[in-house]
Subunit: 303 residues, 2 copies
């Protein structure tokens, strides 16, 4: 029951040798999702053994280069490696025009379908669902239109207690109704409540990616009770004026959001290239929210 | 008197961990030139300690992704690092539109001038000169419009023989005329020919970059007597049909061009990702042209 987040890039605008700009790979129940795709992401995927051809959904937060410039190269490589399966891209409107123009000038017709889902809303919006998961936007406050993303499991069916079933002689045909939470009406008309027949399933797990954004409590409702929160922390708090001016957050602010939404774990990244070491980010955030980690490229977080 | 070529990427379409796609840095007499700029080139520059802010001219051969996708990221980083000096870009026409669209959607106004020099010709054309060097296009045969580039020193002034000057008592004011090749008319009217007063200057040095291209002898005149020739060799000769079909060359074909133009040294690259080792390229080319090297990322060639 995998729900894994792998960091492919944890830096901000300018790439560094050991810290590429933003990209994350999420495998949730074998749904393969790429969030953001900075220049060099396809190389990072090779380095960390993430297979590009498995990616089904690509979520792009916004159209600053450090969040999408690797996309066209990744798509080209998928094409050159004979991909046939479609790729869904969820991104601000301009991206389709940018990608199509680049394909036009290189006289390339991709061998697979590229399905663009333009993002335009300013409220959280469900952009994908199947029988097991949902993906939502998290509108953020940045210099240009920008969304974070919430990936969560759907409520799982209730686990049926084999002993209770046997004891009460409930027919097999009822099982899927019990799993949905229905009570059992016995032949004599007496009602056996569902909670005597089933056990709570594991709680649905969730991950939120919030980058790039100024400190904003507006997102707290959407990510309430999140299991794993990635929140950008471009600066330390002594540069909080600069953070506000450039529509970014500090480590302390990321921690405040994690605390407000009752996150179980916080991971922070998108560090400004001015910082050579990032221990100070963990320390600063840790004073407000204990379970925090400053991420590095290649890190894996299992939920 | 530096004339140095540094390989920043020696692979073809799809990047590999130890072989990035095309980019080369040329320092000719402190003119700093970047030829092609694949995705990840700015990272390669960090790795090989090439300073982006020194680059004055960027030459783009054609609009396949593995030759230009790193450009917008490089320009963004130059901007974020407070560049003020202009950048000249020599490239096929569409590139200006692509770059401007990406700047538009990221709401970025660069802090320096970006001067596009669109390339449209089908004959060799001088696209830059100053007092010491010239840059020419080398039209190539590829699937889309594509140019190689010839970078050469101008003819140097003749070296004046101090002994001859002293012996004949020639005035200082004459020196620049002697350097240009003039004879000296002595006070008695007798002529002292220039070659008795001066020594041949070093021959002007030259470098040609020919990628991507099908085997074509049309380029031989333009690069006749070249000191250092970089010619693409995407395939080995057992795939020469494939090379022709995809508008690429084989190692043997690159060597034939080097031989035909009387090159002093041949370097080959743009190897297809199917080849893990490239010794076979050197061997195949070496049978036709002895002084050949299959390049690796980071290699430096001094002329």
């Amino acid at each position: 029951m995998i729900f894994r987040v792998q960091i492919l890039g944890s830096g901000s605008a300018t790439p560094r040798l050991h810290r590429n700009p933003s990209a994350q790979y999420v495998n949730v129940l074998e749904r393969h999702i790429l969030i953001d795709c900075a220049e060099g992401t396809q190389i990072q995927m090779q380095k960390y053994k993430v297979k590009p051809q498995r990616i089904q959904h690509i979520l792009i937060s916004h159209l600053h280069g450090d969040h999408y410039l690797g996309l066209i190269g990744l798509l080209s490589s998928m094409h050159l490696n004979s991909r046939k399966k479609p790729v869904h891209i969820y991104a601000p409107e301009g991206l389709k025009e940018i990608v199509n123009m680049q394909l036009h000038y290189s006289k390339t017709t991709l061998g697979f379908d590229l399905i663009f889902h333009p993002l335009v809303g300013n409220q959280p919006e469900k952009i994908f669902e199947d029988k097991l998961i949902e993906i939502w936007t998290i509108p953020l406050e940045h210099r240009i239109y920008c969304n974070g993303f919430l990936i969560k499991e759907k409520e799982k069916p209730r686990n049926i207690s084999k002993e209770a079933i046997k004891k009460h002689g409930i027919p097999i045909a009822m099982m899927h109704r019990l799993a949905k939470g229905e009570d059992w009406v016995q032949p004599d008309g007496a009602i056996l409540p569902n909670e005597e027949l089933t056990i709570n399933p594991p709680a649905p797990r969730s991950f939120a990616y919030c980058s790039d954004t100024r400190y904003s409590e507006k997102i707290v409702d959407t990510i309430q009770g999140i299991d794993l929160l990635y929140h950008e922390a471009t600066f330390l708090n002594n540069l909080k004026d600069r953070a506000k001016k450039t529509y970014h957050s500090t480590a302390e602010q990321a921690a405040r959001i994690a605390k407000l939404c009752g996150a179980k774990q916080l991971i922070i990244g998108h560090f400004s290239a001015r910082y050579m070491e990032v221990e100070a980010f963990e320390e600063e955030a840790g004073a407000t929210f204990e379970n925090v980690k400053a991420v590095n490229d290649g890190d894996i977080y299992d939920i």
